[in-house]
């Protein structure tokens, strides 16, 4: 094949407090399908945003050459004019407009501001045919499935005369059949001379469509491999994705030995949940897990594995549509249909998204901590403000929440301290089982260590902890056992002794659907 169509050199991108990309270089040849893989947070999406002008020229360091010429994109439109089109994971279609209107949104066939529907429909039909869709162009986007919507996005890209198509996890939300069609289309477009970059977690997908693969890790490009070459195996790619050294970043922990005989504190059996809108899709598919008192059990999985969905649907059915399964507490079946029921049974869920689901940012530390268990500091429905302050003061000290006082608004605290407030809130509720969803996301190393210490202490106090995380080292450092999930299914269970990043990553990238 021909020379490079794209050359990104030593890209560095810093966000306040975080270095998202520390040194990434990427070379894509003309007419190939180039895969990018890496763990959550490795910098894949950031890199693509730099390339497509979402992060404008000047906000990053490094150089981008497209078709041999330097690029200084100030926004997405600028990159699209050069034929670089990105399709985000979250589809950017307007559900109540037609396919044709969506395809030409912002790029309408119009004269003097008046749309020419004849041209629009003719051209749209052409484009839809090119991506293998026979739907009428006046169908509303809301009326077709996610798989087809993805194809409409590609049709939209084609309408902009795309030369380099970037797809961010295009199959994450699709079922087998739709995924297959999409991958075929990418190969078809390749024969028409369109170069593609595809971000994917699924190694079997990469093997099927990609010519070369670049591995990112911790904001660096590790290596670029030729997929067709013999030495490029799944092992090799997995090693590249996880191969970083474990530092001493975890509290010393005596692994918990499960006592035989006693019933697990929490047991989930054959739990199945459907997507809230796309009811055909099982987001969680007959998952069974259990956790004992004093045990920390990890759940590993990549984006879209269904971990948060599992936790939230168990915790008061706060996600999706329940489609089967039971929850047992200490061996007895319990109802967890509403959050108050789950809380009453001693279950707490600490959300991965503390700003949207965990905290009332405009209220004080005190009021956030006591919200889930106000009756504990109240008599006859009246809150004892004095007692409440004492509780909050206690947590400020024991959790080391850095704030001038407990009446500080939570929105003014740093991420790490906000996380400590969320944890305090649920510890105050006095649960037996804590489900922690990404408890260290977006906080600095020092605060992480403090959070780990707290989790360790909770387990030592006899609480059962479910630890959901995308960071394999922290799961390895903290957990007694680790379950792995992929595409809504449980793909494995690994004991602490056998767990390595490689073992976990292999199970996390296993697509069970394809084995059937």
């Amino acid at each position: 094949m021909a020379g490079p169509v794209l050359d990104m050199r030593s890209i560095v991108k810093t966000f306040p407090g975080v270095k998202a990309l520390s040194d990434v270089s990427l070379t894509v040849r003309q007419g190939e399908v180039h895969a990018i893989c890496g763990e959550n947070g490795a910098g894949k999406s950031t890199l693509m945003k730099v390339l497509s002008g979402v992060h404008p020229h000047g906000s990053y360091e490094g150089e981008i050459l497209f078709q041999g010429e330097p690029c200084h994109f100030k926004d997405i439109r600028a990159s699209e004019r050069r034929g670089i089109v990105i399709i985000h994971q979250e589809l950017a279609l307007v559900p109540y407009l037609s396919l044709a209107e969506n395809i030409f949104l912002g790029n309408e066939h119009a004269k003097h501001g008046v749309i020419s529907w004849r041209d629009t429909l003719r051209h749209a039909t052409e484009l839809l045919r090119r991506v293998g869709l026979s739907d009428h162009p006046e169908t509303r986007v809301a009326d077709i499935g996610v798989g087809k919507q993805q194809l409409v996005e590609i049709a939209k890209a084609l309408s902009k005369e795309v030369k380099l198509l970037i797809l961010d996890e295009p199959t994450a939300a699709l079922n087998d059949e739709d995924s297959g069609k999409l991958l075929d289309l990418i190969l078809e477009l390749k024969t028409q001379g369109i170069t593609s970059i595809i971000i994917s977690h699924k190694l079997n997908e990469i093997e099927r469509v990609a010519d070369s693969v670049t591995i990112l890790r911790d904001g660096r490009s590790i290596e670029t491999l030729d997929v067709k070459a013999a030495q490029t195996t799944e092992e090799r790619i997995i090693n590249g994705m996880v191969g970083r050294d474990l530092e001493h970043r975890f509290p010393e922990r005596t692994p918990h030995e499960a006592e035989a005989g006693s019933a697990p504190a929490l047991e989930i059996r054959d739990w199945t949940v459907r997507h809230p809108i796309d009811q055909q899709r099982k987001v969680v598919d007959s998952v069974s897990i259990q956790v004992r008192r004093g045990e920390i059990v990890g759940i590993a999985g990549l984006m879209g594995a269904g971990r948060t969905e599992l936790a939230m649907s168990v915790f008061g059915r706060t996600y999706g549509r329940y489609a089967g399964g039971t929850v047992l507490k200490d061996g007895k079946e319990i109802r967890t249909k509403t959050v108050p029921e789950a809380v009453a049974h001693g279950i707490a869920y600490v959300t991965e998204d503390r700003k949207h689901y965990g905290l009332n940012l405009i209220d004080t530390i005190t009021r956030n901590i006591t919200l889930s268990a106000l009756p504990k500091v109240a008599g006859r429905g009246i809150v004892d403000e004095h007692g409440e302050r004492k509780v909050a003061e206690g947590f400020r000290r024991s959790m080391n929440i850095k704030a001038p006082n407990v009446f500080e608004r939570v929105g003014r605290l740093s991420g790490g301290n906000q996380q400590k407030v969320v944890l305090s809130k649920w510890i105050f509720a006095g649960p037996d089982v804590l489900i922690l969803d990404e408890p260290t996301r977006g906080i600095d190393v020092g605060a992480k260590y403090e959070i780990y210490t707290v989790i360790d202490r909770l387990a030592a106090e006899g609480k059962a902890v479910v630890f959901i995380s995308s960071e394999l080292p922290e799961l390895l450092g903290m957990c007694d056992r680790i379950y792995t999930m992929a595409a809504g299914r449980l793909t494995g269970e690994v004991a602490r002794a056998e767990a390595t990043q490689e073992v976990l990553m292999r199970q996390m990238t296993k697509d069970k659907r394809e084995e059937r």
Binding site: T351, H356, N360, R367
Partner: protein, 413 residues
């Protein structure tokens, strides 16, 4: 951000503890004002408006009779504003209260005038009617998930229509004397003749004692937790101002007919709702729902029940306002309560509520209502036409909320 916080702590603590001797009182005042803009801004604005109109009307605004009138004229809006504040804190809106006020007045007229029902029984029935009307809207909003704007917009039309049907398009009155006294009358005169209304004086003194006790206790508690409190000098000034304000109003009322009965009702409502919103679990839950609904749900707050109760309460407050209004004008009219919902909503926003919910206090609603009330009354006295009155009130609302937005952005929170 965390560096910012640690840097702030050491400076914040001592400034609360003791005063720096060199600072002049004015310096301290400006300082305190700057830091508590949100808290005091509207109170100061209210003070300025009062002074402005007192001067402009060469003192007429503060004549005993006019102050008494001010209370009576605004009582129903203030009652509505209390209920509306809760609705807005919960992140909703209620457009139906004006019509509901009229509807309830009509129902009261039908019961008391047409059917000669004993007025205390009729009052209870009518308050229940308001609660049921509020509960029905609350059910549609909380449990069926229809947006409150839509439900109450429909309620606004529906109750207005029902009022006209009830009254057959006519004005019905007069109401029994007992009800009129409650809505329009004054506390009874007791004790020796002192040229002043004794009961009012007593109530005023009790209120002063209560306010001073509250303020001192709050300050002590805050110091206990090493919180930033007002410097002693400024605190003394604040107390003096509060006492002076209460005393002035008390003397003015006492030298006329005494305190209106509705003022007492209002006082009970303010203290009661203020306490519930600040100290009761349900009050907390209202703030939590408005502040971050998903987080409140995931914390086990029964959000639907709370929203339902907030609207039920709003219905009952509208019924109370409707009774007061009808009794004051001694007739139920199909055109009663027009635009009351907008006045109540404006009062809430002037008093510090936020469109997105989660913020506001009952006292704020009262202050907002008084700002509008004094403006109305003052402009009437000066002889500003109702055309310009509306223009000015619109601008005040815009300025108050605009100032809030600007102030928030400046503080960066």
């Amino acid at each position: 951000m965390s560096a910012n916080l640690t840097a702030k702590t050491p400076t914040a603590a001592p400034s609360g503890g003791k005063d720096k001797a060199g600072d002049s009182l004015l310096q301290l005042m400006l300082d305190g004002l700057r830091r508590n803009m949100r808290q005091y801004g509207m109170l100061i604005a209210l003070g300025l408006i009062v002074v402005l109109f007192a001067v402009w009307t060469s003192g007429d605004l503060l004549l005993p009779r006019n102050v008494s009138n001010l209370v009576l004229q605004n009582s129903y809006i203030l009652i509505l504003a209390i209920g509306m504040m809760l609705v807005i804190i919960a992140g909703h809106i209620d457009l139906s209260v004006g019509s509901l006020t009229a509807f309830v007045g009509a129902a009261a007229a039908v019961l008391m005038v047409d059917h000669k029902m004993a007025w205390p029984l009729a009052v209870v029935l009518v308050l229940l009617l308001g609660a049921v009307a509020g509960a029905m809207q609350g059910y549609l909003i909380a449990y069926l998930g229809i947006p409150s704007f839509i439900v109450t917009l429909a309620g606004m039309l529906l109750f207005r229509g029902l009022t006209e049907i009830f009254l057959k398009g006519q004005t019905v009155g007069p109401f029994p004397d007992g009800l009129q006294t409650v809505a329009n009358g004054f506390l009874p005169a007791v004790g020796p003749d002192t040229n002043y209304h004794n009961l009012t004086l007593l109530l005023g003194l009790a209120l002063i004692a209560f306010v001073v006790y509250q303020e001192v206790r709050d300050r002590k508690r805050q110091q206990e937790f090493a919180l930033d409190v007002l410097p002693a000098k400024l605190f003394a000034l604040k107390l003096t101002a509060l006492i002076a304000a209460v005393l002035t109003v008390t003397m003015l009322l006492a030298s006329y007919n005494g305190a209106p009965v509705v003022l007492l009702i209002l006082g009970v409502l303010v203290v009661g709702f203020g306490y519930v919103m600040r100290n009761a679990i349900i009050g907390r839950h209202v703030y939590a729902i408005g502040g971050n609904l998903p987080a409140a749900k995931l914390s086990g707050v029964k959000d639907k029940k709370v929203v339902f109760l907030v609207f039920l309460n709003m219905g009952m407050m509208a019924a109370l306002a409707g009774l007061v209004f009808a009794a004051r004008f001694n007739a139920a009219s199909p055109k009663a309560g027009i635009n009351f919902e907008l006045e109540a909503i404006a009062a809430s926003f002037i008093g510090g509520a936020s469109m997105s919910g989660g913020v506001g206090t009952v006292l704020g609603a009262i202050i907002g209502g008084l700002v509008l009330g004094v403006l109305n009354n003052g402009m009437n006295l000066v002889g500003v036409g109702s055309d310009w009155q509306q223009v000015i009130k619109g601008l005040v609302l815009l300025a108050a909320v605009g100032f809030d937005v600007w102030n928030k952005r400046k503080v960066g929170s």
